[in-house]
Symmetry: C2
C-alpha cells in the first residue's frame, strides 16, 4: 500500500512558516497585501476566493477583493489592473479565472505587473521558469514540487510523466521537474499509447481533469502518483484524475483528493505574496 502524501498537513506547516515571515515583515513596516479580482459570478471561483481570503486572514496577509460585474468591459478591467499595479500597498494581484468570454484573459494576465504576478501567469515569469531564472512560479506545480521534497522523493534521473499540458499546471510542472533533473515526458489528448507511456513513469502526474483517468493498469509498481485533478461527481463529491482506491495498492506514494495537491496551491500562493512583498525591500 502506498504512503499517502498529506497535502493538508504540509500546507498547514507552510502556512505557519509564512505566518512567521509575515510577522518579520510587519516588524520592518511592510504589510503584505493580496488583491483579488473576480469578474462575474462563478460558484467554484467564489469557493476558491473564499479559501484564499481565509488563508490570508489566518496568516496575517491583508486582502482586498474587487468584484466586477458580468458586463465589465476590457477597458475597465485593464484600468483596474493598472491602478493595482501602481498601488504601493498592494504586493500581489490575482485575477480569478474564468472571466466572462467577451474579455481577453490572456491580455489581462499580461497587463499585470510581473513583480506582482503571484500566480506566475505573466509571460516574463513563464519565461524565467524555462530559463531557470528567479521569478514567480505557478502555485499548483510549485506545490507539487514541495510535496516531493517534503517526502524526500528522488527526482534526479527519474522518469517523470506529466499527463496534461495546461499552461497553469502541466507545462510549468514539466519545467520544474526538468530543472530538478528528471527525464520528463508530457502527454496530452493527442498522445498515442498513453497507458504504456504512463506505466514507464517513476513519477506520474495526472493533471488533465478527467475523473479516475489513471487506472492501476497504467501505473508501474512503486511509482509516485500525484493527482492534480479536482472533479465533482453528480453527488457533489470531489474526486481526482486517479482511481485512488486501486492505484493506492501499487504506488509507493500517492496524493489523495481532497487533501492532496489542493491545499498546497493556496499555501504556495501565500508564499508568493510574501515573496512579492519582500521584492519591495530590495
Amino acid at each position: 500500500m502506498a504512503e499517502i502524501i498529506n497535502g493538508k498537513e504540509l500546507a498547514q506547516k507552510i502556512r505557519l512558516e509564512v505566518k512567521e515571515e509575515v510577522k518579520e515583515l510587519k516588524a520592518k513596516g511592510i504589510e503584505p497585501k493580496l488583491s483579488v479580482i473576480m469578474v462575474g459570478t462563478d460558484k467554484a471561483s467564489e469557493v476558491y476566493v473564499r479559501n484564499k481570503s481565509k488563508a490570508c486572514e489566518e496568516i496575517g496577509i491583508a486582502f482586498e477583493e474587487f468584484l466586477l460585474s458580468e458586463e465589465t468591459t476590457m477597458e475597465e478591467l485593464l484600468a483596474l489592473i493598472e491602478k493595482l499595479n501602481n498601488r504601493k500597498d498592494i504586493h500581489g494581484i490575482l485575477l480569478q479565472s474564468p472571466i466572462p468570454k467577451h474579455l481577453d484573459i490572456r491580455k489581462a494576465f499580461n497587463s499585470i505587473d510581473y513583480k506582482k504576478d503571484v500566480d506566475g501567469f505573466h509571460p516574463i515569469n513563464v519565461g524565467k521558469l524555462a530559463l531557470g531564472e528567479e521569478g514567480f512560479v505557478s502555485c499548483t506545480p510549485a506545490g507539487v514540487m514541495e510535496m516531493l521534497k517534503e517526502y524526500n522523493i528522488e527526482i534526479q534521473g527519474k522518469k517523470a510523466v506529466v499527463i496534461g499540458r495546461s499552461t497553469i499546471v502541466g507545462k510549468p510542472l514539466a519545467q520544474l521537474l526538468l530543472n530538478a533533473n528528471a527525464t520528463v515526458t508530457i502527454c496530452h489528448s493527442k498522445t498515442q499509447n498513453i497507458e504504456q507511456i504512463a506505466k514507464e513513469a517513476d513519477i506520474l502526474v495526472a493533471a488533465l481533469g478527467k475523473p479516475k483517468f489513471v487506472t492501476a493498469s497504467m501505473v508501474k509498481n512503486g511509482a509516485v502518483v500525484i493527482d492534480v485533478g479536482i472533479n465533482r461527481t453528480a453527488e457533489g463529491k470531489l474526486i481526482g484524475d486517479v482511481d485512488f482506491e486501486n492505484v493506492e495498492k501499487i504506488a509507493s506514494y500517492i496524493t489523495p483528493v481532497p487533501g492532496g495537491v489542493g491545499p498546497m496551491t493556496v499555501a504556495q500562493l501565500m508564499k508568493n505574496v510574501v515573496k512579492a512583498a519582500k521584492l519591495t525591500i530590495a
Copy 2:
C-alpha cells in the same frame, strides 16, 4: 536508406521568400535593419557573424555591427543595448554569444527590447512560446520545425525525443513539438537508459554537442533524425551529434552536418528581422 533533409536548399528557398518580403517593405518605406553586438574576439563567433552579415546583404537587410573590446563593462554593454532599443531605424538586436565571463549575458539578453529580440532569448518571448502566444522564437528550433514541415513529416501524436535541454535549442524545440501535438520527452546528462528512450522516438533530435553521440543502436527503424550538433574534429572537419554514416541506413529522414540545421538558423534569423520590421507598421 534515409532521405536526406537538405537544409541548405530549404534555407535558400526561405531566403528568396524573405528577399521578396524585404522588397515589399522597402516599397512601403521600411528598410529592415539588423544590429549585431560582439564583445571580445572569438573565432567561431566571427564566422557566425560573417554568415549573418552575408545573408543580410544577399537579402537586402541593412546590417550594423558593434564590436566591443574584451574589457567592456556591463554598464557600457547595457548602455549600447539601450541606445539600440531606442533607435527607430534598427529592428533587430542580436548579442552574439559567448561574451567575456565578467559580463552577465542573461542580464544583457533581458535588457534587449523584446520587440527587437530576433533571437527569441528574452523571457517574454520564451514565455510566449510556452503560452502559445505570438512572439519571437529561437532561430534553430524554428528552423527545425520548418524542415519537418517542408518534408511533410507528421508530428501530431508522434513520440518526439529531444536530447539536450539548452535554453537556445532543446527547451524551445520541445515546446514547439508539444505545440504541434507530439508527445515530447526531454533527455539530458542526468537521463538514465538514454539509448532505450531514444530508440522509442519517431522523431529524434540530437542537440547536446557531443560528436556522434547518437549511434544506430539508439535509433528506431524509420525514425526521423534531426542533428543540431556542430562539432569540429581535430582535422577541422564539421561533424554532428549523430553517427550519420550508420544512422542513415535505418532512419527514414536525416539531416546532414554541415548542410542541415545550420543554414536554417540563419534563414530563420532573416525571417525574424523582417517580422520585427513589420511590427513597426502595426
